[in-house]
Symmetry: C2
Subunit: 205 residues, 2 copies
């Protein structure tokens, strides 16, 4: 079985948030579909190890912000690259809330879906929640962000690892003096401002 | 609730096929996500009124062809715009089959996923199947077809409805004689070939 074949499934990119008592959290997820009409239901799969998953099991409600192509990487990083167990992701954010008091994103987002869990299924690594949509709003006419677009255009391309790049010189961060050569001696002092090695940054070829 | 907000969810476009005994059918669907890892499971929502849905309930297996951007509208029309209750969609098609004997598409398709249903949930309009992926293959490096790309680039744009278009004349389908004027009298006979109104077609502005 070629697991990479599964990567060909197309997804959007979403910020999934919930609130249980005083606890509030949000994470980034891709796996949500509309699963039924009348009543409108969505199915959403959430990693069991995510704090948001625990909180949805408690609260039974969530708000899904559908990110659009204007969404900055910093927003995705904020919600996707750290855990709500370590940091309050909404601490300094001025964001709107839905009818259930759950925050959603007021920027970089084309729509928000509020939903109430009606069933769930533990699939080992993930829990699949089936939820009735209680409210849905369009927020912008921007194109929805797809996972493919995120990978190609939003996520920063990894820089070449330092070990693969050749250093051709060192720049003093204080005065911009440039030392030419790949190795800056440990006891080097900038001839212009007198600062030491710790204030120099490498210049790559 | 603004139902159009739900349209902002991003989807791929798939041909979902199954085989139950001698009965084989396929339809077009959008709503499939990878729902779990180890074992890899997908969740797929299928309209209960679809013949394919009935057959999957019987067979417990399916093959999902993930269409790519080279897929012709005719293929989507063939599987999506007619019912397997009326026509054998695979009758004259030369297509490969997976390990379960289920056909998938050998063209316009970037990957195929074979799966075995492990659970299902009746959601009224649709059934949500949870299925373990038993095989997955990549078939092309073409970009997966998204529903948005299908709408913008694959689906033919509707012609302006007849009632909105102004008729400037009538052409005799027999001899190509052209009558100039928006109204062709009921008793009109073609001066060239002698045929009547029923053999004329409108010429639009």
């Amino acid at each position: 079985m070629d697991n990479k074949a599964l990567y060909k499934l197309s997804y959007g990119v979403f910020m999934l948030a919930t609130k249980s008592g005083d606890k509030v959290n949000g994470c980034i997820t891709n796996t949500c579909i509309q699963a039924a009409n009348s009543p409108v239901r969505v199915a959403i799969s959430v990693l069991n190890s995510n704090y948001t998953c625990d909180l949805i099991k408690e609260s039974g409600v969530f708000a899904l912000s559908l990110l659009d192509q204007t969404c900055a990487f910093e927003t995705i990083k904020h919600f996707g690259f750290q855990s709500g167990r370590d940091v309050d992701k909404f601490a300094n954010l001025n964001v709107p809330v839905d009818d259930n008091g759950i925050p959603y994103l007021g920027w970089g987002t084309c729509a928000v879906i509020s939903a109430k869990v009606v069933d769930s299924m533990d699939l080992g690594s993930h829990t699949l929640f089936i939820a009735e949509v209680t409210d849905a709003k369009r927020l912008s006419d921007n194109e929805p962000l797809t996972y493919a677009y995120y990978q190609d255009n939003v996520k920063p391309k990894p820089e070449k690892p330092v070990e693969d790049r050749k250093i051709k010189g060192w720049r003093c961060k204080i005065c911009n003096y440039v030392y030419e050569g790949s190795e800056l001696p440990d006891d080097f002092l900038c001839p212009t401002c007198g600062h030491g090695k710790e204030d120099f940054e490498p210049i790559f070829e």
